[in-house]
Each structure stands twice: as C-alpha cells, then as structure tokens.
C-alpha cells in the first residue's frame, strides 16, 4: 500500500460501502459554520 500523509479534518463525511454514511438529525459532525456568511 502506498502510504499517504493524512491532512485535513479526519472526521469529514464520506460515502463508503454500499450506502453513504449519512448524518442523523442529532449528528453535529457535519455542521458547516465556516460556510455560513459572517
């Protein structure tokens, strides 16, 4: 396996397997405050 140096937020959302890992209403890991207008 080619080793890659990991960068960025390790908790960012991904799709894996036959369905995506989708957040539930109480999952706060996908809040995107930096995209909101300041």
């Amino acid at each position: 396996m080619t080793a890659l140096k990991p960068l960025g937020d390790p908790n960012a959302v991904v799709c894996e397997g036959d369905v995506c890992v989708l957040p539930t209403a109480d999952d706060t890991s996908v809040e995107t405050p930096s995209d909101e207008p300041t």
């Binding site: 890659l4 960025g8 960012a12 894996e16 995506c20 989708l22």
Partner: protein, 231 residues
C-alpha cells in the same frame, strides 16, 4: 513559474458527499489560488464505485434503497436525506432525492474517462453529478449519457460507440486498483501531489489550508535543494 499542485480525486457519481465535497474543494481551491504567487492546481478525477452490484434498473426510490440497505425505517431514511439536502443547499446545490434514479455508475465512469481523453473531464463529471442529484436524470442509460455528453461538447455517435463497447473499462478498473493501493475506503478522497491524503467533504477553509501547507512545504524543499546545490 511554479508547478501546479496536482490533485487526484477519487469519487463516485452516486455519492452525495462527493458533489458537496467537490463544491467545497472548488471554493477552497479558489481561496488558495486567490492568494497569488502563481498558486495553481490541476485536478483529475478517478473512478470509484461505491456499489458495483447496483442494477442499472433499480426499482424503488433513494429513500427505499437507503432504508433497505441500512435496515432503518423509511421515515428515518427520509430524515437523513433531508439533512443531506440541507447541507447541499449550503453550498448552492439543490438536491432532489425524490427524483433521484438509483442506478449502476460504471457506464458513467467510462464516459468520464472518454471525456478526459477528449479534454472535457471536469465538465462531464459536473454534468453527471448535476443530472443525478439535481435533475432526476438517469446516469445508467447510454442514450441519456450520450445526451449529457453532447451538452459538454462531445460527439454523440462516438460516445454511443464507445459506451456500447468495453472502451475505458480498463481505465475504471485501474483507478479502482490504485484506490486500493492507496487504502482508499471512502469517497470523496483527495490525493495531493501523490503524497498527501485528504478524506471526505472537508470545509472550503480546510481545503485552502491544506493546499497552502503543501505549497509551503514544496517551497521549503525547493529552498533546501537550492542551498545544497549552492553549498
């Protein structure tokens, strides 16, 4: 003139976070390039099939698919999709899950490879994602795919010929083996300069920060090399 940072992106077409991640990456890349000093990026997309077993003609809605495969009730699946739809809205994407046609994406990936060979990869990738998530288009039928290809400036007859053959299937499989080699288990996944891995739909600011970090590391390496040569 500095060399552009190469970003290889593994993603699927039927992947809501890939489209959201694409928008966030584009925003982050824009911030990075706006910082000047010839900062540039070169992006190439690679195939990743989340579920190669999906039939072309899937009977049922995205909600039903999600409920079946996650073993949850349809109401919970609807809530999940509503939440993703709200997140997509934040990056300007108007997802319409009730009209999504769940299908196999291998033909779409082959078309993206065809488009790459004709200088239209980025346009084709964007067109298929939009068709799938926003317009309720079918990205598993040759006729529909050929229509989208024409919209980005490709030749319909040649696209149909290509999709009716096995052309570019080896390119799809090669991308998938490379993903395995890198240990990529989820998408979107961004490989930067062949050395750094960024997983998932990161925030735009995070993408910008990562690109800046890679840019600065490159500059340090170049300075160190110049110092060695001069010594």
């Amino acid at each position: 003139m500095n060399e552009a940072i190469k970003i290889d992106v593994w993603s699927d077409i039927a992947c809501p976070w890939c489209y959201i991640g694409k928008r966030k990456f584009e925003a982050g890349s824009g911030l990075f390039q706006g910082a000047g000093d010839d900062r540039a990026v070169e992006v190439e997309y690679h195939s990743f099939e989340l579920n190669p077993e999906t039939p072309v003609e899937f009977e049922g809605s995205e909600t039903e698919y999600l409920a079946q495969h996650k073993g949850i009730d349809p109401e919970q699946a609807t809530q999940m999709l509503d939440r993703v739809t709200a997140i997509a809205e934040q990056v300007g994407l108007h997802y319409d899950f009730p009209s999504v046609k769940h299908t196999n994406t291998v033909l779409g990936h082959r078309l993206i490879h065809y488009a790459k060979a004709h200088g239209k990869q980025l346009e084709m990738k964007e067109r298929l994602l939009k068709a799938h998530f926003v317009e309720g288009g079918h990205v598993g039928h040759i006729d529909d795919l050929a229509d989208y290809a024409v919209e980005v400036g490709l030749d319909r007859d040649d696209v149909v010929r290509s999709l009716l053959s096995d052309e570019y299937l080896d390119a799809v499989r090669e991308d998938e083996s490379l993903a395995q080699e890198f240990g990529i288990g989820g998408v979107p996944f961004f490989v930067i300069d062949g050395k750094y891995g960024v997983s998932g739909a990161q925030e735009a600011a995070t993408f910008a920060q990562v690109l800046e970090q890679v840019w600065n590391e490159r500059a340090s390496e170049t300075s160190a090399e110049s110092a060695e040569v001069g010594a």
